[in-house]
Amino acid sequence: MSTTTATPLAAGSSGAAQPQSAFVAYLVENVLRRNGILLAFVVVIIALSVWQKKFLSPSNLTNLVLQYSYVLILALGMLMIIVLAQIDLSVGSVVAFTGAVAAVVVVRHGMPWYLGVAAALITGLAVGAWQGFWVAVVGIPGFIVTLGGQLLFRGLAQLTLNYVSLSPFGGKYYGISNGFIKGWFGGTGFDVFTVVIFAVAVVGYAVAQWRSRAARLKYQQEVAPLPLFILQIVIVAVVAMFYAWRISQNRGLPVILIILAVFIMVYGMVMGRTSFGRGVYAIGGNLLAAQLSGVKTRWITFWAFVNMGFLAGVAGVIFSARMNSAQPAAGVGMELDAIAACFIGGASTTGGIGRIGGAMIGGLIMAVISNGMQLAGLSQGIQPVIKGLILTLAVAFDLWNKRRTSVAA
């Protein structure tokens, strides 16, 4: 315990605090209060697995990833936009448009899958640059520009597809969202490779956490008490390995899961650890102060929209691959799912606040609840009712949690 209380800050509070009470205090202060939404997620998971026996089945856990990955991808870019105190209402249309472009390349012209992907991503970047220009350079609010974009790109999607869906992609393109890696290391009844990949990831996570903790100690900062730290690693490891074990009994490791994991790690880094990410938070927190501190506000806003366009292109590829077709009406309302994920995950409607991790959990909460309702066979009308209530209640809970814990100046 001596290492854990080596912080100069905690030392002054009440002298030599009892290890037990310090442990509990840390648990309440840093784990429960700051991770209300994570706890909510855990509760939802437990409730769903009790309610629907099939929820934790190998095939359902695999399907979850396949069904909702594109919303998570979109939420990564949307979070950046929302922290900038902007919004992007066009992403659903851009998903349709980029998917349509890919279909024209791959299906209509019979070109290789990677050219289709490249065309979709370049289209997404161009869309982002178009919208970023109007928002960052001309100074029109993102709400207006992307409301226009929603119409514009939906129309372009329809024109590109000539009002009919194009299918099938087939082959490698189809495999992006429906492919699995399996059987490389053998195994009977389950796939060894999937389990090994997860085990490597867990070990990597533990090492990274340990190194971060060691660095913080070196700089004499507060860290979690050691038992809690180990508990955290163990919980993550157990959950991850349980998930790996379940999906390994099904079709193996989904390709899309690897893509998703890479994107989440990269964007977590960009928002949390780069000066670009810092600039995003600074602009959302106080635009004038950011400008006067030398933050390139227009440049950052422009690239945030370009990035959103790019991710909409990625989601367009993933969605069209999953459907094995490009449809004029693809992605309708998808922007709202991405926005909801950010707000459920604790982002502020007025900008400056929001984390990648929060948005991902927010997206997962929406995903598992939708999934649970589908498993239960709830009617089409009741599902949006429940999702709407969850969005409102989640934000209300977050607000209440913040008010309760924040101290008046």
Partner: protein, 529 residues
Amino acid sequence: MSENTALLEPGVVPPGAEDVILEMRHITKTFPGVVALDDVSLTVTRGEIHAICGENGAGKSTLMKVLSGVHPYGTYDGEIVFEGAEARFHRINDSEAKGIVIIHQELALSPFLSIAENIFLGNERFDRTHLIDWNRTNAEAQALMARVGLIENPTTPISTIGVGKQQLVEIAKALSKDVKLLILDEPTAALNDNDSEHLLGLLRGLKAQGITCIMISHKLGELMEIADTITVIRDGRTIEAMPGSEATQERLIKDMVGREMSQRYPSRNHPIGEEVFRVEDWTVYHPTQPGRVMIDRASLNVHAGEVVGIAGLMGAGRTELAMSLFGHSYGKNITGRTYIRGEEVALHTVDEAIAHGLAYVSEDRKRYGLNLLTDIKTNITAAGLKKLVGKLFGLVNDNEEIKVAEQYRAALSIKTPTVMAAITKLSGGNQQKVVVAKWLYTDPDILILDEPTRGIDVGAKYEIYTLINQLVEQGKAVIVISSELPEVMGISDRIYTLSFGVVTGEVPIAEATPEKLMNLMTKEKEAVR
């Protein structure tokens, strides 16, 4: 008795403490990790003007928040006795219902509503059908405006009148609620001399009408002039309550800072070096009104180890000059030349200005200086973040960041338990130190400090002056913009005067007198060219 004291002449102190309108007994208020108020007691006699002074963070505002119910009953220890009965306010409405009205430093008016609408906001004047009676609203507003000496049409939008008049609207609003105890937090901080004078006269008039006032202020001269009683608070404790007639500047300062302050401006002894920064023929136009010249062919320079003061009245273009120099942050069609160590440089963006060693500590820290949503360390490193970015992956070293922030916390004695605390938990003076730390971390050669001591108390001011001395002793060039003449004269080596966007004079400190500077600062536009 109460009738009598209410009718006492202005300036006559009610005898003894027989008619006490408010007594706050043994108030203790703690925030996690900080004791904001430690057994504070305050006694206010009916019909007096009671001044409270103390350093930033001494607990004045917290005490007033306890009194007005912002910090509700039960979140503090001690008791409040108002008009002979114990008061338990759970929200602001509770205290307003008893006749206690607080006017905050940042005025709470709705900018696009009219004066009359603002006066009766939440307290609307209805007719028999329960719709707003506009004639009655405007007529009653006119009557209240007459009481505070505000000559305007009641239908004028708030955003079109100046801060001084807005302050009067706030007081009229308080009067409309039948105020018994009026609390003013730094009422003259943002006002010019004329408006301040008018406000103080008005407070005397209200006193004659039997309204009790509690006034928080840093302007000691003003307090001694107007207050019947002065209570000094330091570090969350009551130090002394004295009749206004017995107060002296030295005594108040000693009470506030807990030490004798022999000089208000620390002395320095250092050589002035070569020229570091020179501006020639700097002309700036208004950003939205074409053809309006804000700065007209201004030229100035500053040397290493020198403090140059820029003195000018409100609207002279001080901030406009500073911000336009700092990477064209203000204005349009900017022409002129800037030289650093004799070499002409282009400073078109803030980034370029920072890269050339310029730093600008802005006048309004909440608006231009801080990201209030985040913590202290992130604010400190906001401008110099590049220094923390690793070469390999472009990632910010967040452990190093905390170390840097801790160093500035120690160097500038920023009062906080940790640099990870939210910036909003700091007092104004400590927030100002964070802004200064942010710019020091960019390692500038030329610092432009725009009103660096506005709204902060005597002790913190002295610390800022000492810091300026340390900076010039390190060979940095410092430009200080200030609306307080004693301050400009106390810290500068050389003073430029600015009037209507024109530099009207350059005065070495040895030749500077308040009269001479004021003459130059008030030159009419026609007369200067």
